[in-house]
Symmetry: C2
Subunit: 189 residues, 2 copies
């Protein structure tokens, strides 16, 4: 694996576990076994490495979620599969996502509150992308665009809420509880 990718992987792992401002460049270098100059050959600053880490997480996470949902019939089943997917995530059964420390994008926005900051913007873009994925499947089982939007929104909120509950309170069944609520919202229709 190229040096650039090694740096991104290591940085993401450390940032995700401890937060971004708690991790210094030197620690990333030491754990990745890369020289300092190499880092600054590939990235012009720490912030630039942070951006790359967020972008990478977006790619990995979205691909994983989309693949999981596509493994089931589009529409209701795919939407329900989402909750099973994040349930596996919460319980550390998805190695590619690392050990669960909440949502990297939510955590990162807690450290970059300015909505105009490039890092914050990338986090927002990720969430919007996931929302669009839900909406696409919601359209399969809804009779109008508005209705699909509302359903996708409800499921999105439940999912985000479950992430928070799982991380902050350590509730490992949060995803299943969210799924139960979601199930009641879709089936009687």
């Amino acid at each position: 694996m190229g040096r650039r990718q090694v740096l991104i992987d290591t940085a993401l792992r450390l940032f995700y576990e401890h937060g971004i401002h708690a991790i210094g460049i030197n620690q990333v270098l030491q754990e990745s076994g890369v020289a300092k100059q190499t880092l600054y050959n590939h990235f012009e600053s720490k912030d630039s490495l942070v951006e790359a880490a967020v972008e990478h997480r977006d790619k990995v996470f979205f691909q994983w979620l989309e693949t999981r949902m596509n493994s089931r019939p589009a529409g209701r089943e795919a939407l329900m599969e989402m909750f099973d997917a994040v349930h596996d995530w919460f319980n550390n059964r998805v190695p590619t996502l690392h050990r669960f420390y909440g949502c990297f994008f939510i955590n990162t926005c807690g450290e970059y509150s300015d909505p105009e900051h490039p890092v914050h913007k990338r986090c927002a873009a990720h969430k919007t992308r996931v929302f669009e994925l839900l909406k696409r499947h919601a359209l399969e089982i809804c009779t109008s665009e508005t209705e699909a939007e509302e359903l996708a929104n409800a499921l999105f909120l439940l999912k985000e809420g479950a992430i928070v509950k799982a991380h902050v309170e350590g509730d490992l069944d949060a995803a299943l509880k969210a799924k139960a609520v979601a199930s009641r919202m879709i089936s009687p229709h």
Copy 2:
């Protein structure tokens, strides 16, 4: 106001806006106009100040929310009022909560991922406390303990999801959308 409280207020404001590890003790001292020795007379370390800030936020936030909910009849109306309350919060109409930068407890857990850390524990305790508040009102309109638990859980997830959506995506209507979902969950019953 006592020096101790000045320090807590200033620290909370800065921590909430920028994250905890991004703020140094010296900045807290400068903005609060307090000497360094005074800080270390009241707190044995920065972490101890962080704990105090989290505890204070818990007190202020919970009291605010409980008061808002108690301004309406217990049960369904109080639960609906919660969404109006956080809607005001998202739109910066609650001065005592500061400008909205997401949930301080969620953000803080992003920087203190170890669930055994005192700071993380306090954040978890806050969320649990809010959940119990919801459950108390849910019991007013449910026929069983289990049903109340499930309702409180659903509303809790919607609320947390709305906080995330409002902060990360800048969706200022997130609370109203969550309220709409919640409303559909309660009224037909």
